[in-house]
Symmetry: D2
Subunit: 257 residues, 4 copies
């Protein structure tokens, strides 16, 4: 299990999500409240959009709380759209290439959840990635396959359906060769324009996703668990839904319901 | 706060202390029971004696549970005397040079505890290390100073008194320039012949030390918390005592009582 | 291009190959003489046989010359059969899982050379690894595929032919989908009993392999370039040959000649 | 020996100094032309000024050429004033805290050169750092001492003289307790407003510094060796001089002449 947080709105310092709040992502890397694992210390990563269509990507294997590079980068970089993630491995090694987010072209992607029994059919999963995208397959996680398979299904043209298809592909592989729970998914992803967050599962225990309107930064914070517990403003995304965030709006649609 | 474990006896695989037991040091790096901090994920280290008078030293910044090098080394190296440590920082950075154990010549040394307010007088503490030992001052921890100061006071000639004097030096600095608690100490150290374990504090909350006779490996396991909770055989070292272990015997003496 | 060195004989300290000689592997990581790249600083690794049928494995991403863990481990571990490698990447990322040697069960394996255009057909190469071995596919190198494919072809039963078949598989993929040079190979591998070293290429520029009888340690040093240049005793393994070393003997046979 | 490069002017992507030029800092980490060491692979670092008075700082131990984080950060961050450095150690360990630049408050600082015999008197050097700055002493380099001593002498009030005094302090220590060459210095430093570059030595072999006016970015590139060899526009800073750069101007003054 992992924890993640994303933002879209007027540019803010990354630290306003990563380290500043009372129950920030950094705190969650040591003591998450709503995750299967309290500790999420198998690496971290951030992807942010600034001056280019493609996002920047900074990932490392240290626990998030002990990396001064992360603290410095988060304090210095402003962005109007970014993803941040702290990892608890569900099997694969601790290495930079197994940390989220993943990026390809304009897209960034992160995931909390699992594909049941993935290590039993990783070869079949890797085969779901076409030749032209295989150079992007750098690690061994189910999450990276989910992303690359979704790219293959056309994230650029129809992100919602592309992600649904990719999730179904992996769920089916799990049903065929894996074990329960076949799919638990909470994804956040972006093309540099919109921010997407989805929540689903094969067994009605879908990892949580919340979001909140931030009037000060004229945007949205979207998280796996709230960044402070004092506030009532966090809205829970229902399981089986995907939310599309622009700077100003949010729109929900069905997702593997 | 940190967790540590040491062994002296007939050669055994390091993993029989580091990873094999039910509540091994590896488990304690994620979920210690008797430490201030349950998580000890700011690096790890092992020092072991085998073919040479000087010990080997292997330290790294990854959480102990996620480092395949540690798993492999622990599974392959046999030693009749070794120290192992998992770290929770009390202030200084996560870096290899701030991980325990520390070594110099034949000596190896590790510590759990703190010197209150150390960061306020680190300069004065560094000044306690003479020129001829200063090349061994590689990090910024209070523990490394304690070790080097003890070397200065004559670990080779009279290890118990050397350690007492060094601990007093740091306690006095803390009383002069630091804050409470001035000294909390549980040390394990070795010259490759004997294993020493000490337990003391300035305020009667001395970090715990236990030891147990292992008939199978004809030796002693000495730990900050027991490696399995099912056993009654763990003896608690009283606060204000230092134990000297040979392969066959243990002798207690006063330590800062 | 990379540099490697291996030993079989009476147990010696690893450092007698890794760091002690005048032109040791450590020196070669900074200034190799016979390699395409003088610098081989994209990580290192050692695999050694001691108390178990399976080898130990220690790999890291630092340049070999700057890692105190390597220096310490090499100074402390004695082994009668080990492989050591310093890496210069031919495309894939610097990460532990892309460092050599690779291990699986009793086998250890390292490689210097390349499979031409590998990144264009890595997917097809990964598909050469059967399901039951895919959990061992941890990185993105051509070398790891070569090893796992050779395991699939039966390294246990007929190591020479298994390696030939695996090399042919990759050479054919390169001819089909890659680029010249299709295959340049110098491999060292072991099952804990014998040491195998092979040298071949598709274009008559086969990476070098030398070996030398060490009377003192009653064994063989097998290297990609000699560990000292003062000695005449290094025998060059001809291209298109594989050498099988036991503690006492060496036997040459054809290899993709 | 190390290589460094700095920029002041209108904001540009860091990569326009770090990786884009034909003989960029990244190239110099593998194959410097004018350095004592061609390879500068003992870590790297960048300090950049953007939205805050204090600079950001990102340092790591991997060779600069193999770190995807550096590539991504350099491609994404724009700054009108930044320092970048690739390290070749003159003795101290490869660790983040021994990488340049160093920062304290608004100041950033990097150095190429050496203080002769520093390891013989590191204790005396550390004692030059007052208590109130000692928390900034995180590593073991002579460069970090030079910086902190200069801060002590009043970088904020009179940067040139503060640096001269600090350099003299270390040169004197070297004459008293060290060895020749006592001082070789090329420093670049900034307070977020101006960029300072100095060049001096005790023996007339002062590490090189060059600078060039960039009309496109309306600023100055200041380097230890030129970023492309095709251009005539690089001006060599004479030994015994310090240059003060603003966005638009440069002013030379004497420095330890």
């Amino acid at each position: 299990m992992c924890r993640w947080a994303a933002f879209i709105g007027q540019p803010i310092f990354l630290e306003q999500v990563i380290s500043a709040p009372a129950h920030s992502l950094l705190v969650q890397s040591q003591a998450a409240s709503e995750a299967k694992t309290a500790i999420n210390a198998d690496g971290f990563g951030i992807a942010w959009y600034a001056h280019r269509p493609e996002p920047g990507l900074f990932r490392d294997v240290l626990p998030a709380w002990s990396d001064p590079n992360l603290a410095s980068v988060a304090a210095q970089i402003k962005s109007g759209l970014f993803l941040a993630h702290v990892r608890a491995s569900t099997g694969s090694a601790t290495s930079r290439n197994n940390c989220h987010p993943f990026t390809s072209g304009r897209w960034s992607f992160m995931h909390n959840g699992q594909v049941g029994g993935f290590e039993h059919f990783r070869r079949s999963a890797d085969m779901l990635i076409p030749d032209e995208l295989y150079h992007e397959r750098k690690g061994a996680t189910d999450s990276e396959v989910l992303f690359l398979r979704a790219l293959h299904h056309g994230l650029d043209q129809d992100p919602v359906n592309a992600l649904v298809k990719a999730a179904r592909d992996l769920e089916n592989l799990s049903r065929e060769k894996g074990e329960t729970p076949h799919l638990r998914l909470s994804v956040a992803m972006s093309d540099g324009e919109n921010l997407y967050a989805a929540r689903a599962s094969s067994d009605h225990i879908a990892p949580t996703v919340y979001y909140k309107r931030c009037t000060q930064s004229e945007g949205w914070m979207v998280v796996s668990e709230p960044l402070e517990t004092s506030s009532d403003d966090w809205i829970e995304l229902p399981a089986g839904k995907l939310a599309v965030f622009t700077k100003d709006h949010v729109r929900l649609c069905d997702f593997m319901g």
